[in-house]
Amino acid sequence: MADNRVRPYEAEPVIRIGTRLGRGLRRAILRAGPGVILSILLLSLMVVAAIGAPLLAPHDPTAGDVTRRLMPPFWLEGGDLEYPLGTDQIGRDVFSRVIYGSRISLTVGVTAVLISGALGTFLGLVSGYRGGLVDAVIMRIADIQLAFPFILLAISVVAVIGSGLLNVVVVLGVAGWVSYGRVVRGQVLSVKEKEFVEAARALGAGTARILFVHILPNVFTPVIVLATFSAASYMVTEAALTFLGLGVPPSIPSWGNMLTDARDYVRTAWWMPVFPGAALALTVLATNLLGDWLRDYLDPHLRKLM
């Protein structure tokens, strides 16, 4: 006899907010207005710059030429098109360093989001689904962590375990789980009461299968939106930590390090603080605009949550 009943473990979840992401995406982007299109272009540019840095950068970002130190951008007197955005205090090309700096920001943004998103989503799923003591403990830890300024937490931990790209990414990723955890938990609380979850359970699906196959796709929309916003905030926090000398080591060209160098040359070389900061601000702006739009496009109700 042909097996035409619904197989227990393949019961299709009824609501799948996540699928909206694919459907009509192109049309929605075109309708979204110039801000969003510009943001997408800018972020694409950043990704291209990060990947193609060795090809795009006109100079070695770490090699200085002391005979050409503190040169202004090309349109000013004393500037040279060979160094379009000027040079820094040891004659390194600001333009090349800005290009290479995108690698660090992109790495930190993406990696820290993956860590905090995975950790927070997992804890939120468990917390919301299991309830009881597990939920109470996880949520109290979240409360305590929220009762402490994020940047101060990051500074204290990095101060002790030491700076460096890996440490910063791990600290940001681990410390950032709270917002994911809380949002996912809230969604799980309502989704777990739906019939399809009950159906899956009745058909004999285990807890892990219910959580990851049936519930997770239905709570994933806010995670995507949150990921966008937190990527922006992690990039800023990394740059701030690096600026304070507690992040990426000075030998690596990053926007935060460029701003650290620029601190002592604000008076003499305005291009040193302006360009890396503007690159960071534009990246954050584009990411935030994209997040705003994703939120409104995927689920307008999320406006209340974030």
Binding site: I144, A147, P149, I155, S156, A262, V284
Partner: protein
């Protein structure tokens, strides 16, 4: 209200405990603080003594109890003694004394300011931080209120559109970069304000604007949308119909009812300012607690870092508590909802 109060206070106690655990754990992450603080050629006796001074010769749970309540609780008597410390690249003589516990305000002795207890160093720097925060708050709250209301009252006008664009832009500008740009514009190019230090009224302006601008964009957007919700209500139409001036309608009828979410977000901002102050103070050389933390981190002066971090955690908790109580008092639904 009483039940809400008790629950909320218990939560605060939990938070303070959590902060204490965090501050204690920070020190554990260093590995062995004793060898970190002693010179390389320290005798085994000195290492042992330093471990006793820091309490790291005991099991973890006893260390935590000692950290909280001092040596005496563990029934130990510590005689005073002078031991050579490693401080940066030089060796200095340091005193070893009994630890009286965080509960007595003893976070141990500073490494950088040799033998001075950590807490008074923190307390000395403390007042400048709330001062900076207060000015930042006045600027931030005042400006966001004016701009938010203007944006709502003249909605969809050119002014509104410009303000909304500026608000989104402002939300994306990294705070510390804004600080550098303000120094560049107002101290270097225009020469109007001092870039560094403290002492006069002028000194506080740039740091306060830097700190206060962080939540400005978001608050303008929030106040705008709260005001728009309220301005569409029936009682506003009534107020207009009975002939009140537009100013009276906006200020005494609309603003009052839009206040609750705004007050909440302002409370959260004060919390944010504690974190922001760490960076802002460092940029402007503002001698408050934030720059003390950063300097102490550079010098690996962990007792001072611990004391300052705990102090900020405590202040942060108190502000959150007050905001929640204020919120519950303003809006009865909050205390009934739980």
């Amino acid at each position: 209200m009483a039940a809400f109060l008790v629950r909320r206070l218990l939560q605060s106690v939990l938070v303070v405990l959590g902060v204490l655990v965090l501050v204690f754990t920070l020190m554990q992450l260093t590995g062995d603080p004793a060898t970190l603080m002693l010179p390389d050629n320290a005798s085994a006796q000195d290492v042992e003594f330093m471990r006793r001074k820091l309490g790291t010769d005991k099991p973890l749970h006893l260390q935590f109890i000692r950290f909280l309540f001092g040596d005496r609780v563990l029934g130990e008597k510590v005689e005073e003694r002078v031991v050579e410390h490693q401080f940066m690249s030089s060796v200095v003589a340091g005193r070893i004394r009994e630890h009286r516990g965080v509960i007595m305000g003893d976070f141990g002795d500073s490494v950088r300011f040799i033998d001075q207890p950590a807490l008074p160093i923190v307390l000395e720097r403390f007042p400048l931080t709330p001062y900076l925060m207060a000015v930042a708050f006045a600027y931030s709250a005042g400006l966001s209120l004016v701009l938010g209301i203007a944006s709502a009252v003249y909605r969809n006008s050119l002014l509104d559109q410009v303000l909304r664009a500026l608000a989104i832009l402002g939300q994306s500008i990294p705070n510390f970069w804004l600080g550098l740009m303000l120094i560049l514009i107002f101290a270097v190019w225009l020469g109007l304000l001092p870039a560094m230090g403290s002492g006069s009224i002028e000194h506080v302006i740039l740091p306060a604007v830097t700190l206060g601008s962080a939540p400005l964009g978001r608050n303008v957007r929030l106040i705008r949308s709260c005001m728009l919700d309220v301005l569409g209500a029936d009682y506003i139409r009534t107020a207009r119909a009975k002939g009140l001036s537009e100013l009276a309608v906006v200020v005494s009828h609309a603003l009052k009812n839009a206040a609750i979410p705004v007050v909440t977000i302002w409370g959260l901002d004060i919390g944010l300012f504690f974190g922001g102050a760490v960076i802002t103070e460092s940029i402007f050389g503002w001698p408050g607690m934030g720059s003390l933390i950063i300097q102490s981190v550079y010098k690996r002066d962990f007792p001072v870092v611990q004391a300052a971090v705990f102090f900020i955690g405590l202040a942060f908790m108190l502000v959150n508590l007050m905001v929640d109580l204020l919120y519950a008092w303003l809006d009865p639904r909050v205390r009934l909802a739980h």
